[in-house]
């Protein structure tokens, strides 16, 4: 066991993958000399040089588009978008090109690239630097989507992403980079596409991912003090989505809530809740509760920012009401 941050786990995954696979190149703004806006790729340029740690101009559509072409011609690029909010600029290259190339071209070729980016609130970064846009990705067939919540998953999911034949969007949470955990990265990990049950209880299922897992776990601890035992599912990847694990737990327990940081309407929580309702209807004792971001842009005020996304208190209170209905 070693003590390691989420940032270092990501860095280690990139480092090891690049050492093993000569075709991996990192393409993005400030990834080389600067070491990454959040320090994830720090010093990798010393090992791999500017040829593989490719600093680009400020050209987000270009970064993603170049990675698409490189992936089609034999490289395995890790493209980096400094903030997921810049997806607005790159969305054509991601959603119209990367996601559809295999299908449009009748299966001739895939686009084995990983788009690393980070999102979420927690730094008063304002409306254009704090969003949770995973719903945009999940809404696009052809894209895999990983959202690690733990240090070990930051490592394992990124390593795994770098072996896949299809494009992966890998969304880190900006408030998790400094999170430190004791990990043994050599211990076997759950397979790609499998959700983790982070806590087991018999009264309530909480389905979540990324930073909201931390809030959900804390809320579950508080619920336990009040005699409510929650199962907490960490999805780890949203595409593939491990619905079997959700189903098993919901059918066993009958009460469920989904917790996401992205905005409520037409978002990931909406998809999960409707899916649970459709698939597990006979087992549900209560409506599935969606706990998600408010339908507002993220304000820079720390007070407004924190209030606009779910937190421990809200998750705990909703959980308690669901159980004591």
């Amino acid at each position: 066991m070693v003590s390691m941050t989420y940032r270092d786990a990501l860095r280690r995954a990139i480092d090891e993958a690049m050492a093993e696979d000569d075709d991996i190149v990192v393409i993005g703004e400030e990834v080389g000399r600067y070491g990454g806006a959040y320090g994830v790729t720090k010093d990798l340029i010393k090992t791999y040089g500017p040829e593989r740690m490719i600093d680009t101009p400020i050209s987000e559509p270009g970064i993603v588009g170049v990675a698409v072409g490189a992936a089609m011609t034999g490289l395995r690029p890790i493209a980096e978008l400094m903030y997921i909010d810049f997806l607005g600029m790159s969305m054509d290259q991601l959603a119209n090109q990367a996601a559809k190339i295999r299908y449009m071209f009748g299966g001739q070729i895939g686009v084995p690239m990983v788009l690393r980016t980070q999102g979420g609130t927690g730094r008063s970064a304002g409306a254009q630097h704090s969003q949770s846009l995973e719903g945009w990705i999940m809404h696009t067939p052809g894209l895999r989507l990983a959202m690690p919540a733990t240090v070990a998953d930051a490592y394992h999911l990124l390593r795994h992403s770098l072996t896949l034949p299809d494009p992966v969007v890998f969304i880190e949470h900006k408030a998790l980079y400094a999170q430190k955990e004791e990990v043994d990265l050599d211990a076997p990990a759950l397979p790609w596409g499998k959700a983790a049950i982070r806590r087991r209880g018999d009264d309530l299922v909480i389905v979540t991912y990324s930073r909201q897992l931390r809030f959900a776990m804390e809320a579950a601890g508080q619920l336990a003090e009040r005699g409510v035992e929650a199962t907490v599912i960490d999805l780890r990847t949203l595409n593939p989505l491990d619905f079997d694990t959700i189903r098993m737990e919901v059918e066993r327990i009958g009460k469920a809530m989904v917790v996401c940081e992205g905005v409520l309407t037409a978002g990931v929580a909406a998809e999960l809740a409707s899916r649970i309702t459709e698939e597990c209807f006979d087992f549900l004792e209560q409506p599935v509760a969606r706990v998600a971001g408010e339908d507002v842009p993220i304000a820079v005020s720390p007070a407004l920012e924190a209030a606009s996304v779910p937190g421990v208190d809200l998750i705990r209170d909703v959980g308690e009401r669901l159980v004591r209905w």
Binding site: V25, E51, I54, T56, P57, S59, P61, G62, V64, G65, V66, A67, V68, G69, A70, A71, M72, T73, G74, L75, P77, D92, Q93, N96, Q97, I101, R102, Y103, M104, F105, G106, G107, Q108, I109, G110, P141, G142, R144, L164, P165, D166, P240, E278, E279, F281, D282
Partner: protein, 360 residues
């Protein structure tokens, strides 16, 4: 005289695949004429396919009038080179060695097409021929050649990647990001703008004040030129130095000026331009120009050319027949190739609904 394709070296295909390799094009005028004639005839048959109601939709963009750009530039590309095209890319793909039958079948949305009927005219691609894809997003295919150039450089493949696009894409930001990176990194990349004077109904001078298009490339440090697209030999000569220099790590840009003979797509009757203008524009016919020169320079006789034109016509008629009689893709193929082979396919809606509604 022989107007047949001659050379076909045993070089590997762009992706190192084992399929049919593109022909190495002989770039002498008789061959350039043959390529252009095949494009013209093919495009005419695409129009026919549409009129007969056998095409997949009407979003079919003919490159009639633009043949010299496709033939002249493709003639100086090599087997291992890659390219992307815009939505008006039939001619370019043909000039790179595509089979008319499989192209026509794709345009008809059939299983035997290059993309099994999933791509169509605007998304046709073939990795064996280095075609990284046509695109229905104006400018959408441009950055991929920068990525391909990066791959070529890193893997020391002696391969140039060429982006073909229209004048409309000159006003898209992605082009400037791409040219900037290609120049910054000294990549074997060429940007080719086929300036047919129009983006749908918008004439180039209604879209920009800066109509000397190559000047923009110069501003980014590229080897930028413009050439008139009437004389295919002139295009070929210009393209040769640009592509050769790109192979050596100096990215280039070439604007080829021509006239879009017909409407934007099949439904467009061009009400935004006058008949006089069209008559004048169609005088700039690269196929006729090359044919006249073959005769005047005694490179070919009227009879031989007539025979050739007839043969090509038959080849393209055969492509139509092939496309019309080809099978539609099976409905089950809808769920294939969203992800890599072996990955679970998306669950069909009907199966899911049956499962959900059968709970009692």
């Amino acid at each position: 005289m022989s107007l047949k394709h001659t050379a076909d070296s045993g070089a590997t295909t762009p992706m190192g695949g084992s399929g049919q390799a593109p022909k190495d094009h002989n770039s002498a005028l008789p061959d350039l004429y043959r390529t252009m004639r095949r494009i013209r005839s093919f495009e005419e048959r695409v129009g026919e396919l549409f009129v007969r109601g056998e095409s997949a939709g009407s979003m079919l963009h003919l490159s009639i009038g633009e043949e010299a750009a496709a033939a002249g530039i493709c003639a100086v590309m090599k087997l291992q080179d890659t390219f992307t095209t815009h939505h008006r890319g039939h001619g370019i793909f043909l000039a790179r060695g595509a089979e008319p039958r499989r192209m026509m079948a794709e345009i008809a949305g059939k299983m035997d097409g290059y993309c099994h009927g999933k791509g169509g005219s605007m998304h046709i691609a073939d990795m064996q021929l280095g075609h990284l894809g046509a695109n229905a997003i104006v400018g959408g295919g441009i950055p991929a050649v920068v990525g391909a150039g990066l791959s070529a450089k890193r893997k020391k493949r002696d391969s140039v990647s060429v982006a073909f696009f229209g004048d409309g894409a000159m006003q898209q930001g992605i082009l400037y990001e791409s040219m900037n990176m290609a120049a910054l990194w000294d990549l074997p990349v060429v940007f080719v703008c086929i300036n047919n004077q129009y983006g749908m109904g918008t004439r180039i001078d209604q879209a920009t004040r800066a109509t000397n298009l190559h000047e923009r490339a110069l501003a980014f440090g590229l080897n930028g030129h413009s050439v008139d697209g009437l004389d295919v030999e002139e295009v070929r000569n210009r393209a040769r130095s640009i592509v050769d220099e790109a192979r050596g790590g100096r990215p280039g840009f070439l604007a080829v000026s021509c006239y879009r003979f017909y409407g934007h797509a099949r439904m467009d009757k061009s009400p935004y331009r006058s008949e006089e203008e069209e008559i004048e524009g169609r005088k700039k016919d690269p196929v006729k120009f090359a044919r006249d020169r073959l005769i005047s320079e005694k490179l070919a006789g009227e009879n031989a050319l007539g025979t050739l034109d007839g043969e090509i016509g038959k080849e393209m008629d055969d492509a139509i027949d092939f496309a019309v009689s080809a099978q539609a893709p099976s409905l089950g193929s809808m769920f294939r190739d969203v992800y890599a082979e072996g990955e679970p396919e998306p669950e069909p809606l009907k199966i899911r609904l049956d499962r959900v509604l059968a709970r009692n």
